[in-house]
């Protein structure tokens, strides 16, 4: 099949936002093959010389790259690579393999570095396992050099790079050419390639199976790293559309950053809080960039999956870093919210994971995991009095709250006897995301310190729509009148018991919905930090009276379409 003029649509995970348009360049990853062949004794000197030459070549290349690099993290990465090449133990071992085992230089490098990679991978320490990929990268590059099989890197300014995975040194090279975008098949959220693309503002999409299609050098590509969408060979019409979108996006980013610095105050002088939803440490710099008031939702799933033994110490470290980065603002930690399918060593699968063993249900069944997390939170709190809040996910009945609070008390008592200073008054609140809680909100409010509405799950459970099911995904709409009524009920219950209420779902990140929430009296919203400036722009340019009028009209509507119509005038414009 000829794909020349046929457009190909791909989907991936957007990790560094923006839109890039350019011609495709493919970084082939020839898999290197090294066999434990024995070499002729009279060739030993040749192989030793090759080892020396290849090391010198790479060293000089890396040194130049390091000198020329302006990014501190790029310099650090390269310095570690340089030291690995110079490592006396490593070189001694490689040399020994050539001399006494009579292995080829390629195999000797490969197997020596492999031993270290294995040690790092099995260390059980997060940073060490993460750095193993760097040693893999240097191993492959070094073997490529000695087998005279280096990857040709020919790319130009404005190219869209397609790669399986990009090793750190190559990423530094790429960062010096102004590429339009990067598409990777693999790559984790914390890989160097991803972190560098974020600090450089290069649009980047990962987890894209571009390899399965015939992507060829020179093909025109659009990378929409706002939506994680890639279009190869777009038609003229699409191209015009995306060029327009790119322009809009650039001016949007520029203008929005101005809003980020403004005070959180409506046209009539009422104040409100916009907080950030955060999952990774790498997101922390965005908090001040986008002007967030601390963190309204700190997701802990990732950190918990990454720490092998759900260690208290590693969690303490993670929370401390988050608290340091948020200055004096508050941080709401949502307890581990995941389904049982993700738990290590548990392979049993559920027919209906969204209605299954997850959130507080799982936490109460795994008291050790829960206690460790609570212990870590309380241990950190001593140094940051009054700044932490605990959020319980997926609550569907009062008993769960009572049981969890009992465990929290037990943890506090234990720390007390251990003479640990901690904040005994950390507010404990719940996610309001299951309809049963909304119906019981006026009773439940008496048992918790705050409510935080999770609009995505609340929508899914209220409307009985599975978002992942393509046949009905169009029915998933958080603006459904029933959802607004549930939010109102929850707000009234919170007011009755005088507890704070916030919204941390996707809804809060939409300026028009945020305006309506404020009109309903919910003035504490948490969202993806990059959405904050837009939300702020809309709210700041209206009076509270206007916001109240909007929410009054929205709550009066019986049909979804009517609500969308009301909102159409409230979207963010320039």
């Amino acid at each position: 099949m000829k794909t020349e003029n046929q457009s190909i649509d791909l989907q991936g995970k957007a990790v560094s936002s923006g839109i890039g348009i350019g011609s495709a360049t493919i970084l082939s990853s020839k898999s290197i093959t090294v066999r434990p062949d024995k070499i002729d004794p009279n060739k030993i000197d040749v192989h030793l010389q090759k080892l020396k030459d290849s090391r010198e070549l790479l060293l000089s290349e890396y040194k130049v790259l390091k000198e020329e690099s302006r990014l501190q993290n790029a310099k650090d990465i390269l310095e570690a690579q340089i030291q690995t090449l110079k490592d006396p133990e490593v070189n001694k071992r490689i040399q020994l393999k050539i001399e006494s085992e009579r292995h080829s230089v390629g195999y000797s490098i490969f197997s020596t570095l492999n031993d270290y990679i294995q040690l790092l991978e099995t260390s059980g320490v997060k940073w060490a396992t993460e750095r193993a990929v760097d040693i893999v990268a240097i191993r492959d590059e070094w073997v490529d050099v000695v087998s005279e099989n280096r990857r040709e890197v020919t790319m130009e300014k404005g190219d869209v790079i397609f790669a399986e995975e990009i090793p750190p040194a190559l990423m530094v090279k790429i960062s010096r050419i102004k590429v339009a975008a990067i598409v990777m098949e693999k790559g984790g959220d914390t890989s160097h390639a991803v972190i560098l693309s974020q600090s450089l503002g290069i649009p980047c999409v990962i987890n894209t199976h571009w390899n399965r299609y015939q992507v060829e050098k020179g093909m025109l590509v659009i990378v929409d790293a706002l939506e994680g969408h890639i279009i190869i060979n777009p038609g003229d019409q699409l191209l015009v559309q995306y060029k327009e979108k790119k322009k809009r996006e650039l001016s949007r980013v520029k203008k929005s950053l101005k809003w980020a610095k403004k005070e959180n105050i409506t046209k009539c002088g009422s104040t409100f809080s916009l907080r950030a939803n955060v999952e990774f440490l790498e997101e922390l710099p965005k908090i001040s960039l986008y002007g967030a008031n601390g963190i309204g939702l700190l997701r802990t799933e990732t950190i918990l999956f990454e720490t092998t033994k759900f260690d208290v110490k590693e969690q303490v470290e993670f929370y401390s870093k988050v608290l340091q980065a948020t200055k004096k603002e508050s941080v709401t930690i949502r307890l581990f919210d995941a389904g049982g399918d993700k738990l290590i060593n548990d392979k049993s699968s559920e027919a209906n994971p969204f209605l299954g063993w997850r959130g507080v249900r799982m936490l109460l069944d795994e008291p050790q995991l829960l206690e460790k997390q609570l212990e870590a939170i309380y241990r950190v709190s001593g140094k940051y009095m009054g700044r932490l809040k605990i959020l319980i996910p997926m609550v569907s009945r009062l008993e769960e709250i009572v049981a969890l609070k009992k465990i929290a008390k037990k943890v506090r008592t234990e720390l007390d006897t251990g003479n640990v200073t901690f904040d005994a008054a950390i507010p404990i609140g719940i996610m309001v995301e299951v309809p049963s809680i909304v119906m019981m909100a006026n009773k439940i409010a008496a048992h918790v310190d705050f409510f935080s509405i999770g609009t995505n799950d609340l929508t899914q459970y209220t409307l009985a729509v599975d978002r992942g099911n393509e046949k009905i995904s169009n029915l998933f709409d958080s603006y459904h009148p029933a959802i607004w009524k549930m939010i109102k009920m929850t707000k009234e219950a919170a007011d009755m018991h005088q507890i704070p209420i916030s919204v941390c779902g996707e809804m809060a990140s939409k300026p028009e919905a945020a305006a309506c929430l404020l009109g309903m009296g919910i003035n504490d919203l948490s969202m993806n930090s990059s959405a904050i400036p837009y939300v702020k722009a809309v709210i700041c340019s209206h009076t509270l009276k206007e916001l109240k009028e909007l929410s009054r009209l929205v709550l009066k509507e019986d049909e979804l379409e009517g609500i969308h119509k009301l909102f159409s005038k409230w979207k963010f414009t320039y």
Binding site: A80, Q83, D87, E89, G124, W127, I135
Partner: protein, 89 residues
């Protein structure tokens, strides 16, 4: 030969960056440098050796120098541990 026990004070452990600083400093001295931890011995001038120790916050290790400038080298490296390798945390 001089030796001294030290503790890792960096909250994130002796990760890639401090390991790199340690090796850079130690390599400036002529003396041989061995680090002993949980019965393992690694060459303190080998970055991969130091990294594979995967030393976390609070880990104890013994630094052993042997050579003409052993005393100076030990003092300098002990300082690094004290100053948390000039990390901010």
């Amino acid at each position: 030969m001089v030796r001294k026990k030290v503790t890792v004070k960096n909250e994130s452990g002796l990760h890639a960056r401090p390991a790199s600083v340690l090796v850079q400093v130690a390599s400036k001295f002529e003396s041989e440098f061995t680090i002993k931890m949980y019965g393992y011995h690694v060459n303190g001038k080998s970055i991969l050796g130091v990294m594979t120790l995967a030393a976390e916050f609070g880990s104890e290790m013994e630094l052993i120098f042997e050579g003409s400038d052993e005393k100076k080298a030990l003092a300098k490296v002990v300082d690094l541990f004290k100053n948390k390798f000039e990390e901010e945390d």
